[in-house]
């Protein structure tokens, strides 16, 4: 049972790919709820990192670990006995209130540890992981960095992050299309505590669903690669409206494309007049200094606001 929230329904299993406490594989995720994640595909995640789990056991990577958390379960049934009279109960409860309360818990943890948490969102293939790898490589001497990776399946992205040397937890959402605050809370339990650091959360590649789910982050960053359409902010407005910074990635490819940068910027500003926009290339490094300056500014402002006011 989860010690934070008392949940019993989420099928949580953690696989430490490296580290002396490596318990092996995560075959134990449950499929007893037939309506979710119960499609009989119980084969995920084992083969490709099995050799790492065994080969690295017992040395070196004490503070570095890939934790893998699987969320596949649905709601537990509840048997009800006894009779009562027919009546109407007014509830007036926000459907997202539960997620939002977990997000508040996460936020409180970030405040306590003075962690600057950023939620990276985009459609699949926009270059989130490549950008993170490059950013982590350049910034890890400046800040302690932890990473949470969200994907439906595999820990491939976490392996790429792990190669940079920082701690990472992979969350596999199974059939889920987004990270929620509850999953992130579980992932935080698996990461080393560091004060005054950065937490990069790479959400599931999806421009729709993650928009509705606050994870407790300080800022949300949306990536849009120039190989996508310039009208994406208009087609998926919720995501761009909910973001603080838009990164126009792969801008080294612009000379090969008909992508209209000005039209894209206008579209983004139409759905969110407050959004900041930077053109970058994770491949060539163009524009990365501006991202680092943005991170520096935000993280410093956050740390200052966390200081006692007397």
């Amino acid at each position: 049972m989860c010690t934070v929230c008392g949940c019993q329904n989420a099928a949580v299993s953690v696989d430490f790919v490296t580290g002396p406490q490596s318990p092996g594989h995560n075959h134990n995720h449950t499929h007893e709820q037939p309506h979710f994640g119960g499609s009989g595909d119980g084969e995920h995640n084992h083969g490709e990192h099995g050799h790492l789990a065994h080969g690295n056991a017992g040395h070196l990577h004490v503070e570095r670990a890939v934790g893998l958390i699987n969320f596949g379960g649905g709601l537990a049934g509840l048997e009800v006995a006894g009779l009562s009279q027919e009546r109407t109960i007014r509830i007036e409860r926000d459907i997202l209130s539960k997620n939002n309360s977990y997000a508040d818990i996460n936020r409180a943890r970030f405040n306590e540890t003075e962690t600057f948490a950023v939620n990276f969102v985009s459609s699949p293939g926009s270059g989130k992981t490549s950008l993170l790898v490059r950013t982590i490589t350049d910034l890890q001497t400046r800040w302690p960095i932890n990473v949470i990776e969200g994907d439906q399946q595999t820990s491939r992205d976490a392996e790429r992050i792990l190669a940079t040397g920082v701690a990472v937890v992979q969350i596999n959402t199974g059939k889920g299309c987004h990270l929620d605050a509850h999953m992130v809370g579980h992932a935080l339990d698996r990461l080393p505590q560091s004060k005054g650091g950065l937490l990069f959360i790479e959400n599931v590649g999806n421009l729709v669903c993650p928009a509705a789910f606050d994870l407790g982050e300080a800022n949300r960053v949306v990536l849009l690669s120039v190989t996508e359409g310039e009208d994406k902010p208009l087609k998926y407005p919720d995501m761009f409206a909910a973001s603080d910074l838009m990164l126009l990635n792969k801008c080294d490819l612009l000379r090969h494309l008909d992508f209209d940068v000005d039209a894209c910027i206008a579209a983004a500003l139409q759905v969110n007049p407050r959004i900041q926009i930077l053109s970058v290339s994770a491949r060539t490094g163009e524009g990365l200094a501006a991202i680092y300056a943005w991170i520096e500014g935000r993280a410093t402002a956050l740390a200052r606001s966390a200081e006692p006011s007397q």
Partner: protein
């Protein structure tokens, strides 16, 4: 069943709210669940209906009728301060053309009431 959409999570939260209510109050069956869903919110009513049966199965909410009330979009213009209807979350004010209209209705995702016995 393969379902990958955020409406599944939202409906799971609806069922969790019903299960939670059952802990506070005695009832043996839920006849209906009335949701209020904003026309400009994050959830598609048809997708909510689509996954409700599967999610509710095996819970106290099984067999309940899902009723969805759509709340139309409305906002307040930051310029002319009028209360205006909104058919699009990011449309300019229909009165003065100002692009900044604050959404005040139409983003709801709420369990309004349960009919139980």
């Amino acid at each position: 069943m393969k379902l990958a959409m955020h409406e599944v999570s939202l409906i799971e939260s609806v069922v969790a709210i019903v299960v939670d209510e059952r802990r506070r109050q005695k009832f043996s069956r839920v006849r209906s669940i009335r949701l209020q869903v904003g026309a400009l919110g994050h959830a598609e009513p048809e997708a909510l209906r689509f996954c409700f049966e599967a999610v509710a199965s095996g819970t106290i909410a099984e067999g309940a009728k899902l009723m969805i009330e759509i709340i139309p979009g409305a906002g307040r213009c930051s310029n002319c301060l009028r209360h205006v209807p909104m058919s699009d979350r990011y449309a300019p004010c229909p009165c003065c053309g100002n692009p900044q209209v604050l959404l005040i209705e139409g983003g709801e995702l709420r369990v309004a009431e349960l009919e139980v016995e």
